[in-house]
């Protein structure tokens, strides 16, 4: 079907507008409000809206500029023929005329019906419903202003049947499930939902779940019943084991008890044997002791006899030795006596000599003291003379004026200072000499005569007598006065000092000083001498010496008494000589005395030694005698009870026999004892007792176990574990069978559902792929070879458009506004192309400002797509207010001017 031309009268903005269209590309241009959209609206309504339509729909068509009913004529080609439909929208009186070129002309409802048939749409009914339906016709081919970016799915779905039918024709096979397919599929889905949830899980409350639960329940019951039953079986087994044990252990215990009894009896036997062994031991000990005693007594007697003989032999030489010792002692004593006499004589001589020597020494002292005393007295006289001389000099010194060296130097200084001051004064003073005068010359009030000179040192008035008074001022100014004053002071000081020293002149003072020096020197000498003598020491020395002398003299008189014949020496020298001589005599005497003493000591020691030796010898002899006596006594005591030698032999033999017999008895008893193994008996008793105890305990335990098992086994008839186990087994088997059966059924349903879904998907692909391929062909015109479209077809709904470009896939809704317009256009063109063969190979596709969001570049490339559609036989009617954008389209251009 193609629209060839249209004439629009009294239709809103159009008073009368006619446009001719070509069968391929048409571009209707014109500014806003130029009536482009109104034009295509008028064509659409003429094709689909009943001419008798009234109400608002009609009102909206009325022209506000021209009176008269809206009238539209459309020429079109369809079914290989040319048609013209004319409609006057005058409300209920609306007219419709359909003219077939070279054919009949139809009017009114006939025309409307035929038109719907030609356009292959359901005829619109009357009223508002019909009008609304009419407006929606061919929506897949008609892009109304502002709807360019709408999702084309709805339009595609509305054309589904036509599309499927077309595809079926092309593909040769069914592309749509039948009603039966749908019914069966739905029924299977329903059955599926009985068993499963949408996500394929077993549905709660479903038969499948129920049988599954029944099975688990039955299995649990079975497990429980089996456990109860196995408890029972265990108890039965335990009972049997315990009973067997009790029986066998009872026998063991009897054996043990017998063993214990036997061991205890052995123990008693051991106790008895032990007592016998002890008594046997005692008997043997006694016999052995008696035998031993006898043997010992015999041996002792023999030994004692030997001892007596030996002692007797020992005693003989001792007596001879004692006599010899006594003779030696006598000799020794004589020698000692002689030595003592000699010693006494030597000691006397020595004593005499010592007394004499000490007397002489006393004399030496006495005489020495006398000499010292004499010297002291002489020195004392000399000192007394010196003290007298010193007294004289002291008196002389006292008489001299008190001028000493210092004072004398002071006087000399004063005098020197004064003479220097006088010299200065004299140098400064002025002298006036009266050489010749006629008058009285007075100087300083003092009359000066001829030749007289006056010297002055202060301002002095000179009266020459002629009335002339001259004032003479000596040189030096004020220092003259100072010098004069100093001179005066010095003089006064000198005089004062002389007065103090009680001298008249310095010369005298010098003399006094010299005298005083001489006297003082003399005095110093004397004093030095006296200091040497130290008269006070002399005094004390005198006293001490006197005492010493007295003592020495007393010593002399005391010693003199001891010495028989002595001539006292007269001098100290004599005394000393005598002393030296005495010393020389004394020494040999001392030696003699010492030698005599040594001799005597030697003799004494010798004597003492001999005495001791003699005493020892005597003691030894006495001891030996005592020992002998003792041994003889012992021997007698020992031998007395032994009797005769024959007696002795008989007795010894008897004792030996007794010993042997008791030993044999003891040995036998001990052997018997050993054979009873007494050392292990106690352990055995313990062991048997322990084992018995343990065995009894085990029996008691076993009895307890038997009782426990018995109580588990004891059934009161309230339950039947064996029966319950059978029941549970049967139920578990039944439940398993039932579950398997239901499970298979459910699995079969699930299998069917999966298969149906898969087949549906295949069908869907069969339909959607060629449609998508067609869309892709158009899209590639704009977006290049990587672009591809896809569409889903589920349960009769076409939708879910996606575009893939450069490997990225986008849902339609996620595309940009411009791209949406282009994709939607591609879908419309593809659908139109598929549907076109039903309409004589062509269909018009109207784009009313359909690409308002597309940028200029895309506008350029989408012209290629539109061109392809035209080449594929579609009639493209493009409305735009900017025709220049589509200058490259090469379309038939129609321009609507602004009214």
């Amino acid at each position: 079907m193609r629209i060839l031309s249209a004439t629009v009268k009294n239709y809103r903005i159009h008073q009368e507008t006619t446009v001719d269209l070509t069968d391929s590309l048409n571009l209707i241009g014109g500014p806003n409000e130029s009536g482009k959209s109104t034009l295509v609206e008028a064509i659409h309504r003429t094709l689909f809206l009943k001419s008798s339509t009234g109400g608002e729909m009609r009102s909206s068509m009325l022209s506000n500029q021209a009176p008269g009913h809206p009238h539209v004529e459309v020429r079109f080609e369809a079914k290989g023929k040319i048609w013209q439909i004319s409609k006057t929208f005058s409300g209920t009186s609306g007219k419709a005329i359909l003219q077939e070129e070279g054919g009949p002309t139809l009017h009114g409802p006939e025309a409307e019906s035929r038109l719907a048939e030609i356009l292959q749409v359901e005829e619109a009914g009357g009223g508002r419903g019909g009008a609304n339906k009419a407006i929606g016709q061919w929506a897949h081919l008609w892009v109304w202003q502002g709807s360019g970016g709408e999702d084309p799915s709805e339009h595609a779905t509305s054309q589904r049947d036509a599309l499927l039918s077309r595809l079926k024709e092309e593909g040769g096979g069914a592309v749509m499930q039948s009603d039966l397919d749908s019914r069966v599929s739905a029924s299977i889905n329903e059955r599926f939902s009985d068993f499963f949830t949408a996500s394929g899980k077993v549905k709660a409350g479903s038969l499948l779940q129920q049988t599954q639960e029944d099975l688990s329940g039955a299995e649990e019951d079975l497990e429980e019943a089996a456990e109860v039953f196995s408890r029972l079986e265990n108890a039965r087994r335990n009972f049997s084991i315990a009973e067997k044990f009790i029986t066998s252990q009872g026998l063991e215990i009897d054996k043990l008890a017998a063993s214990l009894k036997e061991t205890r009896e052995r123990k008693d036997a051991v106790a008895k044997l032990s007592l016998k062994a002890a008594s046997d031991q005692r008997a043997y000990d006694e016999a052995a002791a008696a035998h031993q005693q006898m043997e010992t007594a015999l041996a002792d007697a023999i030994q004692l006899k030997k001892d007596v003989n030996a002692l007797t032999e020992q005693l003989k030489p001792s007596t001879e030795k004692i006599s010899a010792f006594e003779a030696s002692l006598k000799e020794s004593k004589n020698a000692l006596r002689k030595a003592e006499v000699k010693l006494e004589a030597a000691e006397n001589t020595l004593t005499e000599s010592r007394d004499r020597r000490e007397l002489i020494e006393a004399w030496v002292q006495t005489l020495s003291h006398r000499d010292a005393l004499e010297e002291l007295n002489r020195v004392q006289g000399e000192a007394k003379e010196l003290q007298k001389s010193r007294k004289v000099i002291d008196e002389k010194l006292a008489k001299l004026p008190p001028v000493d060296q210092a004072r004398f130097r002071n006087l000399q200084q004063l005098e020197s200072s004064l003479s220097k001051a006088d010299a200065v004064l004299k140098a400064m003073s002025t002298g006036i000499e009266v050489v010749e005068t006629t008058s009285q010359v007075k100087v300083g009030g003092q009359i000066l005569t001829k030749g007289e000179t006056h010297v002055f040192d202060s301002e002095t008035l000179v009266e020459t007598g002629d009335g002339n008074i001259l004032k003479v001022t000596p040189g030096g100014g004020t220092s003259l006065d100072e010098t004069r004053n100093r001179t005066k002071e010095l003089r006064t000081a000198l005089q004062t000092e002389l007065n103090t020293a009680s001298v008249e002149s310095i010369t005298q003072a010098g003399e006094v000083v010299t005298q005083r020096q001489i006297l003082q020197d003399q005095l110093r000498d004397l004093t030095a001498k006296l200091d040497v003598m130290s008269p006070r020491d002399i005094e004390s020395q005198l006293e001490s010496k006197t005492r010493d002398l007295a003592a020495a003299e007393s010593e002399v008189s005391r010693r003199t008494a001891k010495v028989v014949k002595f001539d006292p020496p007269q001098t100290s020298v004599d005394a000393k000589a005598l002393r030296d001589k005495c010393l020389i005599e004394y020494e040999p005497l001392e030696t003699q005395q010492a030698e005599a003493k040594t001799d005597r000591n030697t003799a004494a020691e010798s004597t003492q030694h001999l005495e001791a030796t003699l005493t020892t010898a005597k003691d030894e002899t006495r001891l030996a005698e005592n020992q002998l006596l003792e041994a003889q006594t012992k021997l007698q005591t020992k031998e007395a009870p032994l009797g005769s030698a024959e007696d002795r032999t008989t007795r010894l033999r008897t004792l030996s026999t007794a010993k042997e017999e008791t030993s044999a008895a003891l040995h036998t008893t001990q052997n018997n004892l050993d054979q009873l193994q007494p050392e292990s008996l106690d352990a055995d008793v313990n062991r048997f007792e322990r084992a018995l105890e343990k065995g009894k305990e085990e029996i008691s335990n076993a009895r307890q176990q038997r009782a426990v098992a018995s109580s588990t086994l004891a059934s009161d008839g309230n339950t039947d574990p064996a029966g319950a186990l059978e029941t549970a087994k049967g139920r578990a088997l039944s439940a398993a069978e039932r579950h398997q059966s239901i499970k298979r059924q459910a699995d079969a349903i699930a299998l069917l559902r999966d298969r149906f879904e898969a087949e549906q998907q295949k069908l869907s692909d069969k339909f959607s792929r060629p449609l998508a391929d067609k869309v892709t062909e158009y899209l590639q015109q704009i977006f290049g070879p990587t672009a591809a479209a896809a569409v889903s077809f589920e349960e009769g709904v076409i939708g879910g458009w996606t575009m893939t470009r450069n490997g990225n896939t986008f849902d339609f809704s996620k595309l940009s506004g411009g791209t949406r317009e282009q994709v939607a256009a591609a879908v419309r063109l593809a659908m139109a192309e598929i549907l076109a063969p039903d309409h004589g190979g062509s269909l018009p596709v109207v784009f009313d400002d359909a690409f308002t969001n597309s940028d200029p570049n895309r506008i350029q490339s989408l012209q290629r797509m539109l061109d392809l559609a035209a080449r594929h036989g579609l009639q493209i009617i493009l409305l735009t207010c900017d025709p220049a954008d589509y200058s490259a389209l090469g379309a038939h251009a129609v321009s609507l001017g602004s009214q």
Binding site: S178, D181, E726, L733, S734, D747, L751, L752
Partner: protein, 388 residues
Amino acid sequence: MNFLHTADWQLGKPFARITDPDKAAKVRSERVSAIKRIGTVAKDKNADFILVAGDVFDSFTADKSTVSAACSAIGEIGIPVIAIPGNHDHGGPGCLWEQEFFQKERRSLAPNFHILLDHAPLELDTAVIFPCPLLRRHESVDPTEWLRSFDFGSLKNKDLPRIALAHGSVHGFDSEGNDDEDNALSSPNLIALDRLPPDEFDFIALGDWHGTKKINSHAWYAGTPEIDRFPKGENNDPGNILNIELTRGTTPTVEKITTAHLGWHVIEFDFASDEDVERLAEQLTDQIGNRAQEDLLQLTLRGSLGMKGSTRLGQLLETWRSRLLRLKEKDLVRTAPTPEEVAALTERAGDPLIANVATGLIHEAEGNSEEAEIARIALRELYGAINR
């Protein structure tokens, strides 16, 4: 004198594989009813006593209600009922025979009931009973061993017929191996009949084998009086008791009397085509008739069925499942669409989904794997969904 020989009452057997509790209870209670029927026979035959050769109870810990029901039924019989414990209700510590409740109930309800737990002869006025009780599930020694060395001279009356009462397997006769009906208490206790002193026993009353079986002219298994499992093998003949006429030193006269009430059926069926389902329906009706809640059936199915046949079989079994006390189904049938069904499923140009899914499943349904089994079920489901 004459007496009834029975065994293996298995009172209280739970029949746990019967999932409907009411049906299980019915099967259980039928075993008590069997005692009453035995009582009736005893009266008819004027029996001196009844010997039960073990397994009066199914469990050695039988519960109170089972004990009460048993004692009540035994008490009603009136004449002495003499039993030994078998491997199921063996004696020993904690066994139900020692249970205070049992003893109380026995005293008050069944004073005629004697359970023999010792290896000692019971000398009655009319016969001497030699009990060989099992005191544990599995005795390591032959329970009849004590009889080999018994001093028969010690018996008071040596002219009375002598009856040995034992429970276990004799040579050449194993216990009936385990299946899902059997329980863990099954255990072989071997009895060497040939080692018993010859000519000393006039009759050996055996229990354990649930079918009635003659071992020799003096030794019989009475079998269970009420069937408790699907019989195996051709010669298995359960559901009877024996009436024995006996005198010392002669061959006993043995009469078999059927006491079973519930039907235990075993059917094996092979499908060649879908039409065979109707054949099976006829066979079931022939064998079981119009009875309900009286029968148990072990049904083994083989061969293969198409979708339609399989669906029909399902409906048929559903019906019988409710009529029967138990349908033990062993389904070895290969369900595979017939060529027509295959075509109907796959040759559907207008229904591309169904056709493609069916094609895939038909391919996968071949083989014996679990996956193949599921694919077959899926096909049945699909078939059902299309033809609904």
